[in-house]
Assembly symmetry: C2
Homo-oligomer: 249 residues x 2
C-alpha cells in the first residue's frame, strides 16, 4: 500500500512573509504523519512563501523558462531551505524522512511532458525511508528551466509508483459547492464546472480547478482535505472530497 | 562531444581540517573549467574533508549501511555544503553550474549494482547547463543507505550518457611507476599490478588501483592527471595517464 501525500505550501508557510514558516501548521502536519502507521508514504510539499519570490524575480514560471544557472540555483536553494525545515519537523515526530530534490531527478521534454525518476524513490520506500519531494525549478527542453508545481509532481510520481492512494492536504476542507459545503465525491469535471469554472479556463498554478482536473486523470482515487482531515486520511478514512476519475478501477 | 570530469575531494578541500575548503585548489579548478570551451561537460566532485567524518560517526561506508534517516540527512547535508561551495566557485568563473544530488537520483540494488538516472542530466547538457554531481550517501536495497564514491559515480554516469571522454583530476600527475614517473598509457591491469598491487586486493575507497580497474572496464578512453594537467585535458590534450580498456573502440 503506497500513499502519496501533498502538503500545500500555504499550510507550512506564511504566505505574506518571505521565507517564513507557519510553525503551527508545520508541526500539526508533522505530528499527524508521525502518529500514523502508513505502510509506504511519499510526501510532496509546495512552495508557499519560499521559491515564488525568487522565481518571480527571474521571470520564471510553469510556462516561462530561464537559461541562467544563477536563477535556477537561487530558486532551488530557496526550496532547499523549506525542504530542510520540513525534514526537521518530520524527524522530530520520528518520521524517517529523507530529501528527494526534483531538479536532480526530473525534467520536462520539448512537448512539455514531465519525467521524474522513481526507481530510487521505490528503493527508499522499500528500505523504510519516507522520501520528501517538493515543487521545484527543473530543466525543460527548449526553455532552459521552468517551475514544476507540487500538484503536477504528485500525480506524476503517484502514477509512476503505481500508488494506491493520493491525498492533497490543502487550505480548505475539500472542494466546496455554492454554499461552501464540502462536495463528498467528484466523478467528472462537468459536475463541478459551475463552481470551479468552465473547461476553457486554464489553471496551471495550483488552483482548485487545476487540482480537480489533474486528479480526474489519475487511475488512482484521490482526496482533497485540510489539516483537520489529515489524520483521517492517513488512517484510511474519508475526509474532504473524493476525486475519482474514469480510469479508477 | 560529452566529457565527464571528476575533481578529487583532496584538490578542493583540506583533508586534515573538518569541512575546510582548499581555496587555492578550488579556484584553480574552477578557473580552468571557466576558461575551457567544452561542448557538454558533466562534473563530479569527491568528498575530501566533507561527508567522511559524518559517515564514520554513523558507521556508514561503501559496504556498511544505515537505516537511520538522521544519518542519511547528516552525511548528505555535509556534501550539500561542499557542493554549494563548488557551484559558487564555478559560477564566479562564468560556468552555468547547477546541482545534481545523487541521493535524489540513484540507488543500489540488492546485488550492489548502481543505478543513476541520467535523462535529466542529458536534458541539462542540451540546455547549456553544467550539472555538478558528487559522492554521496544513497539508498541501497537490503542495507538502508551506503556511501557512493565519486569514482564509481563517474564511470556509471559516463557509461549511461555514452560520454566521449572521462577525466579524473587527482592529487598526482597520473599513475606513477616505481621511479615516480607518470606511466603514459595503461591497456590492462597486469601492466601495473607491480606498482598498484595484485588483483586480489580490494580497493573500494578511491585509491589508484580501484580507479585504474574501474576505468579499464569503461568503453570510453579515460585520463588521470592533476590540477596542472586540467587545462590540457579540457582542451583535448594528453596530460597524465591514458587508461584504455579492451572495450574502447
Amino acid at each position: 500500500m503506497t500513499t502519496v501525500l501533498k502538503l500545500g505550501g500555504s499550510l507550512l508557510t506564511r504566505k505574506d512573509e518571505h521565507e517564513s514558516i507557519d510553525e503551527a501548521g508545520l508541526s500539526t502536519a508533522a505530528a499527524a504523519i508521525g502518529a500514523a502507521s502508513v505502510d509506504e508514504l511519499v510526501l510532496v510539499h509546495g512552495a508557499g512563501s519560499f521559491g515564488h519570490v525568487h522565481a518571480d524575480a527571474h521571470g520564471v514560471s510553469v510556462e516561462a523558462g530561464t537559461s541562467e544557472a544563477a536563477a535556477v540555483r537561487e530558486i532551488h536553494a530557496s526550496m532547499g531551505r523549506l525542504n530542510r525545515r520540513v525534514l526537521a519537523a518530520l524527524a522530530e515526530e520520528g518520521v524517517e524522512a529523507i530529501p528527494v530534490r526534483p531538479l536532480s531527478a526530473s525534467y520536462r521534454d520539448a512537448e512539455g511532458a514531465l519525467w521524474h525518476a522513481t526507481d530510487q524513490v521505490a528503493a527508499m520506500l522499500a528500505e523504510g525511508f519516507v522520501p520528501v519531494l517538493h515543487g521545484d525549478v527543473i530543466t525543460t527542453r527548449e526553455k532552459g528551466a521552468t517551475i514544476l508545481s507540487g500538484d503536477e509532481l504528485v500525480v506524476t510520481v503517484a502514477r509512476s509508483l503505481h500508488a494506491d492512494a493520493v491525498g492533497l492536504c490543502a487550505g480548505v476542507p475539500g472542494v466546496l459547492d455554492e454554499d461552501d459545503s464540502v462536495i463528498p465525491e467528484i466523478d467528472g469535471y462537468d459536475e463541478v464546472a459551475g463552481v470551479l469554472g468552465g473547461a476553457a479556463e486554464t489553471d496551471v498554478t495550483g488552483g482548485m480547478a487545476g487540482k480537480v482536473r489533474t486528479l480526474l486523470d489519475l487511475p488512482i482515487p484521490a482526496r482533497i482535505f485540510d489539516l483537520e482531515g489529515l489524520p483521517a486520511f492517513l488512517s484510511g478514512g474519508d475526509p474532504g472530497t473524493l476525486v475519482r476519475g474514469p480510469d479508477v478501477e
